[in-house]
Every structure is written in C-alpha cells, then in structure tokens.
C-alpha cells in the first residue's frame, strides 16, 4: 500500500530510481500505472497537480496562439490528478478499422498497426471508463425495441452508437483521479507523487537514452528521477512541450530530429447547427437527442457515421453527426417540407425539425502545430504557442457527408435536410471544440514520418515511450479517451516485456 506522497515534502536533491517513471496522472498515466500494478516493476507516477485544482499549477498550462480561433491552451486541460477526465463528457466510441488504414486521399494517414491490434485491449479500456457492456454494435437492436429508428435509405451513412462513461451510482463520467485513487494506493509497487513537475528530460551524452528527469515543485524544491524507462503521459500538448523544451543534448528537442514534435496538432471541431433535419413523421426516438439508458448498464446515443466505402469513394474524413434540439422552420422551410413530402407521397402534417451538430475529423496538417515561445512558466519551462488552422477543405468534405445524409433521408421518405453552412464564417460561427489534443507526437514506423514507433517508443531512444492521444497519427471522429486507454494498455504489455 502506497499513500500519495506530496513531492514538496521530499528532501532537496533526492534521487528516485524507479523501474518506470510515468509523467502525468491523467487517464493514460493512471491506467498505465494500474496495468503495471502487481508486477515486479517499481512504478513512479509523477503528477504535477494534486487531488484538487490549484490555479498556480493550472497556470503552467497557459500559452498563446495564432491562426484560427481556438480555445485557450489552459481551457481544455486540467493539471490535477485525473487530468481531463475531471471535466470530460464521457463520450466513448472505438475508432473504426478504417481510421487505422492508409487512406490515399489523406496525406500522412495510416497507423503502424490495424484496429485488430487494439481489439484485445478495448474491453479493459471499456471497464476503466465504466461504460457498461461492450454493445456498440447492438444499438440498433436495443433502440428498435424502445422506439422506431429513423429510416436511412441505402447509402453512405449508417446509424452508429456512442456509449457513455458513468461513475458508479451516478450519472457523471468516470473521473480517474477520484475513481482510482484507492486502487493506486492499494498497489504496492506504485508510488504516486503529487505536485511533482517534470521540467526536463535529460539524455545521455550519446542521445540514445534518457538518463534522468529533472523534477521541481512550485515551492522551489528540485529533485531527480533516474528511471530505467520513462513514459510521457502528460497530454497532447504537454508531451510535446517537454520534448521540445528538453534541448540540451538534442538541440531541436528530444525526438525532434526530423522536426515533427508539435506538428500535426489535431482536435475534433464540433460545429453546431450545421444542418436542419426534418423528420416527416415528427417521431424521433429518444436516443437521438439524448443519452439514453438502454438497459444492461449501458447509456447510449445514436449518431450518423459515414461508411468506409463512402469515405473512400467521396474522399471524406471521419465524422459523427448528431441530432440536437428542436427548431422552428421559416416559410421557405415549411414550403420545402410540404412540397417535398407531397412529391414523395408521404404525410408531413406532423413534421418536426431538429438542429444537427457533429464531431469532425480534421485532415492531418503539419503546419497546425505547437512551438515554444520565449515566455516561461513559474518553473522556467517555455510556454507553448499553438498555430491553429481549419481549412475550407475540411468543411467542404464534411458537407459532402451531410449532403449524403440528406439524400438518404429523401430516399427512405423519412425526412429532409437543410445544409446551414456554406461559407467559412457560417461554419465558424457556432464552433465548439472537443478539447481532444491529438497528433503532436505522432506514431509511424518510419522515423522520418513519426516521433514514436508502433510501440510508442521514441525513435532513436531506448527507454522513452509516449502514451496517450498525442501519438495518434490520424485522429478519427470518435472521442479519444476510450481509444487512448486501449493504446495505453497495449503499451503496458509492451513495457512488461521489455522492462521485466
């Protein structure tokens, strides 16, 4: 049993020598530590924050930005135990097999392994997020038993399903710090250290491995960790920041010999009210607009997703389209509904209209990137600057998907769709973000195309790995938490093999 240790209580100059140091106590770090519990490995879990959010600690996330409007860099992250799961929405959906494939219309696409490599880890990831049984593929059957589903004619989109994380006995998503505090304490080989900020990754002079980590507290205490292996699990922004800032041996930063660290930053744009969907019958199953308990302990919600065949033929990216709140139609809209319904020979006297939203996958873009600035945080680490970019092409591709949804609704006689966004400013007007920080330490078998290899190991360094969504080479439209956990559990198995 290991109690949480406040790093501020350590003696200055302390040198800790664990087998594995995990930098970051968010969902990836906590899950990795727990996956390595009950092994013979000594695990040190370094968390910058503590059990509660401290504004002074959180301030170390602040940064600047250029390009398209984006959330401030400290808005979507929480520097406290449990990390982003302290404010996540709990949306879970596995990435599609096509997300892992080389897509010839998507430059830089292709993971080093197929979806099947993660399949063995998804059930455990699902258990960690407490999203109930794995029934993503059974949504249609369960939903149909509750209320008729919206008929989509044959075509490029199908009804897909989210499941939702939930804390036991509550409706809140699983907050990893609170939920797994006792499990961490119960593991004899895990030493959790709070208020411990890694300020540098120090390499051996030959730049072939990590020698040590410099760690500091906001009280001014500094100490050293000399682990056999290091795993960065500090999030999609902070992993890149630590690598870039650790530039005493490798001048461009650790793992940045090919100028890839910080590039390809991704997130899932969530533009609101992108379309208006009219259901001619006026009847909509409750699982379209709300997260619905389907029984079996699973909370689910229906979305519309493009098929792999449609994506290939029309060169669209991933997207998950949601039905939202009811809306009123203007006179042109009413005329469109009445005229179309008569032409289709269906009754639209009870028609209802709904706003449509989505989560989009962006095209990988090396110029959407994080760089260091001259401004420093309280511990002397350079702050980040994000150059954000969403292109018209990103929106245009998603618009093709929406248009196909509209076509399918007409084909089935179920409804009608209005595309609400054409111009760039219309897309950006109601833009929200998933706060999914992806891709900045991308994974590729070729060191010239990726910072880490298929095992998450930084190319060229024997004992440095990266966990979390920073390594996603393409992003998918699914929310990343479930997927990064599966990837982390796979990394745990790899570490057991090499570190034992």
């Amino acid at each position: 049993m290991s109690a949480f240790v406040d790093a501020r209580t350590l003696a200055a100059g302390t040198v800790l020598t664990p087998d594995i140091a995990i930098v970051g106590g968010g969902p990836a770090g906590i899950s990795l530590a727990l996956a390595l519990a009950a092994t013979k490995l000594d695990i040190l879990l370094l968390e910058s924050g503590s059990m509660n959010l401290d504004p002074a600690v959180q301030d170390m996330y602040a940064g600047s930005q250029s390009g398209d409007d984006y959330a401030s860099l400290d808005a979507g992250r929480l520097r406290t135990l449990g990390g982003g799961t302290n404010h996540w929405g709990g949306w879970c959906r596995p990435l599609d097999a096509s997300d892992f494939e080389k897509r010839d219309w998507v430059p830089h696409s292709g993971w080093p392994f197929p979806r099947t490599a993660l399949d063995p880890y998804y059930p455990r990831a699902q258990a960690l997020v407490e999203a109930g049984p794995w029934i993503y593929d059974q949504g249609d059957r369960l939903a149909s038993a509750k209320a008729p589903m919206l008929a989509l004619g044959n075509g490029g989109l199908y009804t897909s399903w989210f499941q939702f994380s939930k804390m036991r006995g509550d409706v809140l998503p699983t907050r990893f710090g609170v939920r797994y505090e006792a499990d961490i304490k119960a593991a004899a080989n895990i030493k959790p250290l709070l208020n411990a900020n890694v300020t540098a990754i120090r390499l051996t002079p030959d730049a072939r491995s990590v020698d040590r980590l410099d760690v500091a507290t906001l009280t001014g205490l500094r100490f050293t960790v000399k682990p056999r292996h290091v795993v960065l699990a500090a999030g999609g922004m902070e992993n890149a920041r630590l690598l870039l800032a650790s530039n005493d041996v490798m001048k461009a930063g650790v793992g940045n010999q090919n100028d890839l660290v910080g590039r390809f930053f991704g997130d899932n744009p969530i533009p609101r009210d992108v379309a208006t969907l009219v259901v001619f019958s006026g009847k909509r199953g409750p699982y379209y607009g709300n997260n619905l308990n389907m029984g079996n302990g699973a909370i689910m919600r229906a979305v519309f997703a493009p098929t792999a065949a449609f994506a290939r033929s029309r060169h669209v990216m991933g997207s998950l389209t949601t039905m939202e709140h009811p809306v009123e139609l203007d006179e042109t809209g009413k005329a469109a509904v009445i005229t179309a319904a008569i032409a289709l020979g269906v009754d639209a006297s009870n028609a209802r209209a709904f706003s449509v939203g989505c989560g989009m996958e962006l095209m990988p873009d090396p110029d959407r990137r994080l760089t260091l600035t001259g401004e420093k945080d309280a511990l002397g680490l350079p702050r980040l600057k994000l150059h954000m970019r969403v292109t018209d092409d990103d929106f245009a591709r998603y618009r093709l998907t929406l248009a196909e949804l509209g076509r399918q609704l007409l084909a089935s006689g179920a409804g009608l769709l209005r595309l609400n966004c054409s111009r760039r400013e219309e897309w950006l007007k109601n833009m929200d973000w998933g706060h999914h920080h992806l891709g900045t330490v991308r994974m590729h078998s070729d060191p010239k195309q990726g910072v880490v290899d298929g095992d998450g190991k930084v190319h060229g360094l024997a004992n440095l790995h990266v966990a979390g969504s920073a390594v996603f080479p393409t992003y998918g439209a699914s929310n990343p938490t479930l997927n990064l956990l599966a990837l982390t559990l796979r990394l745990a198995d790899h570490l057991k093999r090499i570190a034992a």
Partner: protein
C-alpha cells in the same frame, strides 16, 4: 309536387351548388389562372407552397425553358421522377434545402407561372 319530387329537386340543387363552389371558388380546391404549363403544374399537390419554394430558387430559367426541360425529364409520374433523382443524386439546394431536382424545377415553374 310530392315529397319525392321535392327531395330530388333539393338534391339536384345541392349538387349544382357544390359543383359550382368546387369549380368557381377556392373553397374545396385552389384554382389558378390557366397557364401553358398546367399539364406539369397539376402534378404539384400544393401549388402555393411550391411557388413559395420556387421563389427562393436562385438563377432559375424562365418558365418556358423550365417547362421544356421538365417535359423532357418528367416522362412518368412525379413520384417516380423524384425517386430517380434521389437515387442518382440529382439534388439541388434551395436556401440550403436539399431537394430532388424535379421538385425544384417544378417549384420554380410554379413561381414563374
């Protein structure tokens, strides 16, 4: 006049009145001034709504050109033509509304007739 004759007369008068109301007023069915395209427009169930939609069609050709195009494309009934449009992806946006091309052309014709 016996009772049977009286009832027959009333029925005849009522029938004539209903026929007159149907033919000469909009009480039962909306009547429109005759146009050269009534063979096409009669396929619209609600010509007023179609005209409202058609008025929002951007860059619509004139009525004569619309009618000529529809006479070529609309060979069978409207429902069949609409399903053919949808299957082939022949959709047109009207103020963002994704509609079968034939519906849009007919609506534009209604607006211009």
């Amino acid at each position: 006049m016996n009772r049977r004759a009286l009832l027959a007369g009333l029925a005849a008068a009522g029938g004539a009145l209903a026929a007159g109301l149907y033919r000469f007023t909009d009480l039962f069915v909306k009547h429109y001034p005759p146009t050269a395209h009534d063979d096409l427009l009669e396929q619209l169930g609600d010509r007023d709504q179609a005209a409202r939609l058609g008025a929002a069609v951007d860059n619509a050709p004139d009525a004569k050109a619309l009618a000529a195009r529809l006479r070529t494309s609309l060979q069978g009934d409207l429902a069949t033509a609409v399903q053919a449009d949808v299957a082939a992806g022949r959709l047109t946006e009207v103020k963002g509304w994704l509609l079968p091309q034939t519906v849009v052309l007919l609506s534009a014709l209604a607006a211009k007739s």
